[in-house]
Subunit: 403 residues, 2 copies
């Protein structure tokens, strides 16, 4: 009904493949590596009631009223202080706009830069939510493969040169450089430098999505792109993984004139993000609770990552490989090319284990033999058992399909 | 910087005229009828800390986690029950999607229906936030004048017939039929019937924005359009005026297949609206607190409306007229045609009183002699004094400009 009244972008819209698959994960005895949810154990439960009470006592008139589109000033100031402390970045409140989750930041950036037919660069595989947000604005996606060191910047350079011959310059390059979703890999320092160099040469914007920046369990910190190219990087950060997703509080950070444009675009998208939620997080941060809380989260996830890596080592058939993430929530499994993980999904569900199929993260048919595993949500025991089950499914599959 | 990278819609974007004007309202001694803010006295302060504590105790895992894009089920069910009770409308949770303020609903509907160049119908004057949201999707606006009985449906019929000759059918007609923002007028029952008739004849969608539905201080309820045409009306409701804006919780309600499309569009816009805020309002409603709370709000605003109407009666020069709203937050003042309210604005600020200029609500140059007054925010005394000041400014202006 009314199909003919929909805009072209709506006619093309589909419900997310992940969400449709997850509908099959109906019972608790299915061990799910499919979601991307933070573990509820990481939620700041004990202090929260008290924080809410303080906000209602001290900031009631502002916390319950409409707020500015830019976001609550005290929260933006807390974020600035933390940026100085954690990555030695000098930013002020004008460099930050609070958004309703990073997802809104991605949507606003899509709206801000993309006219139908514009070229934009993403990773292959890439974060689904970003691809979905950008897709509404009808760009041409240029998807650059990644390996264990992140996006293959030499391939990017090649593509940029090719595009330029056709007078095409991408509007922006979108990357999740640190503990990527879905692949779990981190872009090396030298590739970051090269990406920045290219951004100057070809004059494109860098969109750096860094939801997992604070969740490193091994290895050494690498400078974020916004530190390397503060004049042309828009960096997205979020409290969903370090505090709780249920407040939908994130931020987009970058040059003040670009952030100002995001603010104007946000005005018509939702006027402002809930001041009540913003005051809660500002109060939590001003009490000095966030940093120690993040340390707790890292301990929990680090253990889960180790358990998953060990279980993979011990159980997976030798034809199967996977990434070794130094942080974040995900790792990426590659089966032999003749294995179709989408086809295999129903058999995995029968064996009571779930994952997300690789194709979901490409959108061009690639990834048929790949899959994403999440290690943040399940209990330690179930991670171990789940990997055993998945290994069994894969062994059967390899036996059956092997040429 | 980077101007050439922006999408066309962004290059055309401007900060809202209201917001720019409001920057001049810098000191507390300026009595402002310019805002549209609910009065902080209407916020449900006393019960809220306890409601938060209950939510954290009983729903913590769900309230702090990502939620479904559709919204928290218990909140949607509470809204359904209330619809049955207040307007005798039978709807289920599938007819409702929770949004981050009605503003997000408007943005998603714009995205869902508008391709560049599509015709859409709005009122003249119209709600600014809606015009801003729709504008991002580059429609052709058809603006139909209103009078004290709401949109002039005979003019709409004429325009529809004219457009049809050029093979143009508008995608939707957007109205705020009850206590309109900015004009404060309510569309009569017979005009509503005629609008519904036209929607069937020309096959367009009705978008009924009803933020003030529950705030009637005089006169008799008139059936909402969604009751008259449930098969083709998308109705937007909000808790911003009956609970508090600071949670950004609203809903879009309509046929399940249309609501489903809004949900898919919302997935890429922000994944979900904050579950924590949704649980708070669901808990508040389930305690039976909302309806009595709304009665309190109506008492407060009803008094303020009476004070403003009385002050206008007693003070305004006879050349000036205004609407007599039976509810909502606003009324609309018409000065003689030779008065330019934008030009007069700085003189009003000097006299310590502020309003919003009429032109802001048209976007085609009309409204130069008109202005919007808000009566919900200022204290009773200041409303009285503010109208005296405004009357003086207008008297001076009429003396000066009268031909």
């Amino acid at each position: 009904m009314f199909e003919e009244l929909f805009s072209k972008r709506t006619q093309a819209m589909k419900a997310s493949e992940i969400r449709e698959l997850l509908k099959l994960v109906t019972s608790d005895d299915i061990i799910s590596f499919a979601g991307g949810l933070p573990n509820p154990k990481t939620f700041p439960a004990s202090e929260l009631a008290d924080v809410c009470t303080t906000v209602l006592q001290e900031h009631q008139a502002k916390a319950l009223q409409y707020g500015t589109t830019e976001g609550v000033l005290s929260l933006r100031e807390e974020i600035c202080k933390r940026m100085k402390r954690t990555i030695d970045l000098d930013v002020g409140p004008d460099n930050i706009v609070i958004t309703s989750g990073s997802q809104q930041g991605l949507d606003l950036l899509g709206k801000m830069f993309i006219d139908p037919g514009d070229a934009i660069v993403v990773e292959a595989p890439s974060y689904l939510g970003a691809v979905g947000a950008f897709k509404s604005y009808e760009p041409n996606f240029v998807a650059i493969e990644l390996d264990d060191d992140g996006m293959k910047i030499d391939l990017l350079e090649e593509q940029l040169a090719n595009l330029k011959k056709r007078f095409v310059i991408p509007k922006f390059v979108y990357v999740v450089p640190t503990f990527q979703n879905p692949a779990g890999v981190t872009m090396t320092d030298s590739r970051r430098d090269k990406l920045v160099e290219l951004s100057h040469e070809y004059d494109f914007i860098i969109i750096e999505d860094s939801p997992y920046e604070n969740l490193r369990y091994a290895g050494k910190d690498i400078k974020p792109l916004i530190v390397k190219a503060p004049d042309r990087t828009l960096n997205l950060g979020t409290f969903s993984k370090t505090f709780a997703p249920g407040f939908r509080i994130a931020w987009t950070m970058g040059p003040a004139d670009l952030v100002r444009k995001v603010v104007i675009s946000k005005q018509s998208a939702d006027l402002c993000t809930a001041p009540f939620s913003q005051f809660i997080i500002a109060e939590y941060m001003s009490r000095g609770l966030l940093d120690p809380h993040i340390e707790e989260i890292k301990k929990l996830y680090s253990t889960k990552r180790d358990i998953m890596l060990k279980a993979l080592d011990e159980n997976m058939p030798e034809e199967v490989s996977w990434t070794k993430p130094e942080g974040g929530l995900f790792l990426w499994v590659r089966a032999p090319s003749y294995v179709d993980t989408k086809d295999m999904f129903l058999r995995a569900i029968e064996k009571k284990v779930a994952y997300v199929t690789g194709t979901a993260f490409y959108g061009d048919g690639r990834g048929t033999n790949e899959m994403r595993l999440n290690f943040s949500f399940e209990t330690d025991e179930r991670i171990h058992t789940g990997v055993e089950r998945l290994a069994e499914v894969l062994r059967d599959e390899i036996k059956r399909q092997s040429p």
